[in-house]
Subunit: 151 residues, 2 copies
DNA sequence: AATAATAATGATAATTATTATTGTTTTGAA
DNA sequence: TTCAAAACAATAATAATTATCATTATTATT
């Protein structure tokens, strides 16, 4: 099965999806997520949206981020020690979380490396594994360069 | 390098560790984490501790969970859609999060399966990867049995 | 095009998880 | 036994997120 962070759609949400109405705000959020590689928090998305929609409400941002996540047009990431982040790249991929600068970076891993993990997990488990997300921790290249002595 | 969820100890915390004083509350929390397989939340730990220490404060539980995590005697897990969980099993292992019942289960994976992942991640990355944690999502065996029709 | 139905919005209140503060008690070394 | 440091309980404060509600925007229907 596919590897990734997309959670299964619920029955309730399926109904909601069928009656989805267009909104300029949601469209703009989707577009922003699609182009950025920053993995922004809800608040960060909010600040960006304010440039286009000065009156946009933070609740609207949260509502749409959840909606986009539920219908599989965005992915929610939950790092330790900070707020949730959102990623418009919905292809299965993993992430690196820099413990110094708190940035999240995409990691497109080799399929031959990820398959055995999924296989091993399924083999040693009696339930059904639908997806997975691996968070790698350490120091990003930028942080290593900036202060290599602090390793 | 080792695989797991233990974040690197900070300088500040290292000092704290060197002057650590005994406390019955912390000892009990540690013992509870060591024996349970439930991956309890801070609040859940708090309720258990109340049986032994009726006056224990939730703040004390949080403080000690963070301390135990920092000195590597516990591991903090950050699932999506719910509060942080704590695991007294500090050996590197991954987790399964049931999207239906929200339980977290331990997954001891085959090393030959996890190594290529770590290697692939390191190879395609210019920083330093110190550890990782994979969250698998799906339905646990119990949920599949209880309602197989709802797959 | 006017109208009706309803989904989405902005404003804001409420909730949840977590951290910080403060005064008191416990611990362990001198 | 004394004393400073650490841990405590109680509680206030903060941050992130969700819920409520009256108004506005979107879509389907006449």
């Amino acid at each position: 099965m596919s590897k990734g962070t997309v959670l299964p759609m619920t029955q309730e949400r399926r109904i909601l999806v069928s009656t989805l109405k267009y909104s300029r705000q949601r469209e703009s959020i989707k577009q922003y997520l699609a182009m950025t590689k920053e993995h922004p928090t809800a608040d960060c998305v909010y600040l960006h949206m304010k440039e286009e929609f000065p009156n946009i409400s933070l609740g609207t941002v949260y509502r749409n981020l959840k909606l986009l996540t539920d219908i599989g047009e965005a992915v929610k990431l939950t790092p330790p020690d900070s707020a949730d982040r959102f990623d418009g790249n919905t292809r299965p991929h993993d992430h690196f979380y820099c413990t110094r600068c708190k940035r999240i970076l995409d990691l497109e891993l080799d399929m031959t490396a990820t398959m055995p993990l999924h296989q091993a997990a399924s083999a040693s488990f009696d339930g059904i594994i639908e997806s997975s997300n691996t968070f790698f921790f350490g120091l990003c290249g930028k942080c290593v360069k900036e202060a290599p002595e602090k390793l």
